[in-house]
Amino acid sequence: MSTEHERTLAAVHQVAAERSNGSLLCATQPHSDTLHFVVDRSAMRAVTGGLVDHLGARFLISVGTDRRPLSGDFGVLHIFSLDRDHLYVLVESPIPADDLRIDSITPVVPGAAWAEREFQDAVGVRAEGHPDPRRLLLPDDWPEGLYPLRRDFPYNFRPPADDAARPKLAGAPAGASVFPMGPFFPVLEEPSYWRLFVEGERIVGCDTRLFYNHRGIEKLGDSVLTYSAIPHLAERICGICGFIHSTCYCQAVEKAAGIEAPRRARYIRTIMLELERIHSHLLWLGIAGHILGFETVLMQTWRIREPVMWLCEAICGNRKTYGMNTVGGLRRDLPDSVRPELLRVLAEVEKEVVAVREAVAGDSALHARTQGVGTLSEETARSICVVGPPARASGVAIDARIDHPYAAYDEIRPRIVTEEAGDVWARVVVRLGELAESIRLVGEGLSSIPDGPVCAEIKDEIPPGKIGVSVVEAPRGEAIHFVLTGGDNRPYRWRVRAPTYPNLQALPAAIRDGNIADTPITLGSLDPCFSCTERVETIDRRTKAVRVFSRAELLKMCRARAKGGG
């Protein structure tokens, strides 16, 4: 194992040295699983291309950083993963502040298309030779030349609005007409604009405009919040994968600062992560049914899902947004009292999931709508760097829990579920398989959880200038958090990549030559993220009395209203 690991390290070093052609400025290994190369920007495309071609490296994300207060320049960092070798490879180039350009790597790494457009928007480093350098992240009325992630840009600055601004979108090719899907559309839980070019009902191409809900979370993290406040914000990145993002952030900081979370905390993280996967996959199955007009699937899967939400509430006081994670471990232990209930509910859920799987597996009409629909070939999935169930359904056997073990996954080992067909049906099968697997993992975690503290004591200040890369396998695919520590009790740069980011880039390929009718389910099968609601808490403003409505009360109120109001 170790000699093989050393051989891989040597191979990476060799590619970096050869491809950079003498302009390799620095090579370090900040952690046992992370290699960090600094190359001259002229060699960036060659080095990254070499990593992909020779070592099969998978592109994760790019980070553009304004380092003027530190070293007077900017930095562009591309993060790659060598999945089999459990290794991250970081390739960075310094960019002089008076010449903000770097060669785009998108021509050799197609999956980097959005990441490069994003640092172009956010810090103003131009990606030269990018095939589609349009604006990605910033609103259409954002003034040219304002870069929000630069250090001298105040986090609360608001440029004047211009309602007349419109996105620059491609026109329909000759003979095709435009069929707009969005920005608001019944099956899109979030605003996103898909401009489909159709001949009759056949799709011949599409253009898209997204990021309507960009909230500037990364900016808040490196300008306003502190290390220990960020987990709460990270949790709110997504309404479903909240725990995933807070875990991912905490792991990145722990890694950068050399903090070891206690074993028990890692086990509880694993259990919570798998509970999230269970309720997320059930939610997704319901949404998929709804998109196809199959409301019975929606109603039944959400009924099955509900007890899992109550479990989460019993564990941490909330259905969602648990507030459990903190740097160094957890803020709250898993109470022993929930254990029997947890096992009972999971056994029940497992039984019902089997019933759903049997009902779904034999439904020929469902097969007709999902088999051969929205197909992503393995080749396309790899080149766009698709992650999660869509990747595994196309035969790309990647899973962050196995490739970069974190939390307790080195001891509770998940079995990977893959399919070959790459269509919507394959994604259904993969997710159903993962549901059963997650239930097994929670049970295994519960039975082997060690005793002990749940939070490491952090005595020293977190040193500045350290790098931490962390991944977590969310239900939708792998989430990535990158942290560069800073001096003022907060990260200098915090970079987040949610799994939907690469997956949405695959949609144009998946719907091409398909039918309008297949587009919603194809988009749905990538499981784009959305929020869900909490219970209601009211506060009387005069008496400050807090009244919490229980589920039963809310249900009663809903029904009384329906009866009374008609």
Binding site: S177, P186, L366, N515, I516
Partner: protein, 301 residues
């Protein structure tokens, strides 16, 4: 003449006043299968009332566009007067099964027109799907009625009903009835055939731009149409027991219609929506299968 008018009024009243009730019952059943409580049975009446009281907004201009919702509902009511409900159809003298087929197709054409003139891409895609559905479903409907005509030796619906009531079930009429039932599933816009409206794809298709009183009339027309076609199905293919007492026969038909529509709703809840090409292929096969019913009818089975 008075009896004729009263008969017409009765059929129109059944179609208008009872169709929301049937819809409400169907919703209750859907809810039960979903593990929900569901809205009260009277909800469709409240829906109509609410929509009728809203502002009348129009996305298209012109007299024809303005009149389309009323014309659609009128075409369905005309169909009701041509359909036997517990007794012979009041306007039976005015037209045989050919006329019934034409009138049954009218509402689909009118809804299609409103989608095309609404100026929305969803409306036009929905209308083109509506047209494709109509073209593939109508043959199945026509062939299944033609089987009845061949058996009874008359094109008049009344004659067909009487013949079926007297002679009992037969192979050909069973196949034809099944084909008619599947056509009913599509004609009433139920899953897996609600392809033209397809909320999740086209946001209501041809009706996407309709709101307020106009939407109320379209909705009412669609509910009435599903009820009238279900009456047509039970009268022509399942007329037994026919006692000759109009009130009892009407009650019996009403119950049978409820059974048929509950079956329609059951199929609706346990199916996803098909794609338009898949639905067309399906009805192509249904049409061909119903031709075999014609063959059985020719050899007297």
């Amino acid at each position: 003449m008075v009896w004729l008018l009263l008969g017409c009024l009765l059929n129109v009243a059944i179609a208008l006043l009872l169709s929301p009730l049937y819809e409400g019952l169907l919703r209750k059943m859907r809810a039960a299968i979903h593990s929900r409580v569901g809205p009260p049975v009277t909800q469709p009446y409240w829906d109509l009332l609410k929509l009728l009281g809203k502002e009348d907004l129009r996305s298209g201009g012109g007299m024809a566009y303005a009149a389309l919702p009323a014309l659609t509902l009128a075409s369905v009511l005309l169909l009701a007067t041509l359909t036997p409900m517990g007794a012979a159809a009041p306007l039976a003298f005015a037209g045989d099964m050919i006329v019934v087929l034409y009138v049954a197709g009218m509402s689909a054409v009118l809804i299609m027109l409103s989608g095309m003139t609404s100026g929305s891409p969803y409306g036009s895609v929905g209308s083109s799907r509506e047209m494709m559905m109509a073209l593939s479903v109508e043959p199945a409907l026509a062939v299944s009625l033609a089987v009845g005509a061949l058996k009874a030796g008359t094109l008049a619906l009344g004659g067909m009903v009487d013949f079926q009531a007297q002679n009992g079930p037969s192979v050909s009429m069973s196949i034809a009835g099944l084909a008619f039932f599947l056509a009913l599933q599509a004609q009433s816009g139920k899953l897996p055939f609600d392809i033209a409206e397809a909320d999740q794809e086209l946001m209501g298709g041809p009706l996407v731009e309709q709101s307020g009183p106009r939407l109320a009339l379209f909705r009412w027309a669609l509910w009435a149409k599903q009820l009238v076609l279900a009456f047509l199905l039970v009268e022509v293919f399942l007329p037994w027991p026919r006692l000759g007492i109009p009130v009892v026969d009407l009650l019996a038909s009403g119950l049978k219609v409820l059974g048929v529509l509950l079956l329609v709703a059951l199929i609706d809840v346990v199916n996803p929506r098909l794609r338009i090409d898949q639905a067309m292929g399906y009805f192509m096969r249904v049409g061909l299968a119903s031709v075999s019913a014609l063959a059985f009818a020719v050899i007297g089975r």
